[in-house]
Symmetry: C2
């Protein structure tokens, strides 16, 4: 890739030099140029000139997530799960979710998840069952979320971040959390997908015993 497209600045609109040297195949797409249009500690937004799978010229705005998304279903011995409630700024909406956070792509995802769970709920877990990854919004972002079921929980103390100052927790039976995900009282995609996969794992685990 040509280094002039790595400067984080859009191409000068007066610069009409050919950009063919920057052509990259992305599956059936061709990336012709890219320019960073926004950057903060969490996301980088890029404007790409592309040719789509049919060969038509177009543009693509891509939102790169600097961190992995992490989420776990904390399942207590009594069959309840801890949900976390908070106001989500982009939607201006109060929402009940499982514990979630962002983890550095350089760090171990599970270690980062364990830190987030402790910070938000004070809980630590002795058993971590991986529930795979999901891609929350793949038409625009490269966000990748890692999901777990966490069991063998013990309670410690909270250490919430400043942005989590309004956070609340509640414990509900696992079946009630699933019902909330099904009937729309829970709308957060990480929570809905993790409860689904946890439910599938628990069903197949119980059929093995």
């Amino acid at each position: 890739m040509s280094s002039r497209h790595e400067t984080g600045r859009p191409r000068d609109p007066q610069d009409d030099s050919p950009v063919w040297e920057n052509r990259i195949k992305i599956g059936p797409w061709t990336q012709i140029s890219r320019a960073v249009t926004y950057n903060n500690p969490w996301i980088r937004v890029e404007h790409h000139q592309v040719q789509d799978p049919s060969g038509q010229d177009g543009v693509y705005g891509v939102v790169h997530f600097k961190n992995r998304a992490l989420a776990c279903v904390p399942l207590h011995e009594d069959g309840t799960v801890t949900l976390v409630g908070q106001h989500r700024y982009p939607l201006d909406l109060w929402t009940w979710e499982i514990p979630e956070g962002g983890g550095s792509r350089e760090a171990d995802p599970l270690t980062e998840m364990q830190r987030e769970l402790m910070e938000e709920t004070g809980l630590s877990a002795s058993e971590w069952i991986p529930l795979g990854v999901i891609h929350p919004s793949n038409s625009v972002t490269d966000e990748t979320a890692h999901l777990w079921l966490a069991r063998g929980l013990t309670e410690g103390s909270l250490a919430r971040e400043s942005t989590e100052g309004d956070m609340k927790t509640m414990r509900v039976p696992f079946a009630e959390a699933v019902a909330m995900a099904l009937d729309g009282r829970i709308t957060d995609a990480l929570t809905v997908t993790a409860l689904f996969r946890a439910s599938g794992w628990l069903t197949s685990a119980s059929s093995r015993t």
Copy 2:
């Protein structure tokens, strides 16, 4: 809100005039200023100065989605569902999904979904069971997705968009699609959540009869 923050341009960094007149409460957050940093036909990216729920100064990058996300599980009489495969540019990843698309916020979501289903698969459906909404990525975006189960399918002809030139379809048993969502062969959040809710709806429908 003061009109000077509605111009779509960042505040002049040399402008140190007070911005208190622009303060807006977003739940426990305070929005102090906002500036559009990127705009294309699908998304608008804004940089906000904020005070977080603990009163600390910070910034928030918000990705506004101009369209609603729409997705449906097309369930055939023989118990199979039609999946759509395509290469997702932001992730550089081939992915199997249910039919999805973007619909204007001014139009009826179901009408837009029916058009997308026809375009991508050639299918039309006589029965549409709403499966509610989800928020795919609520820490950064305001994206809202509407989900359905579609039954009573009849086959017509395709009319794919240019960006969908690599799209493929396959039919798999509903239980196999659910297994793919559970074991990670399907990672698209809209697909995983819609299959979960469709599964819940079908289970409760069968227990009613």
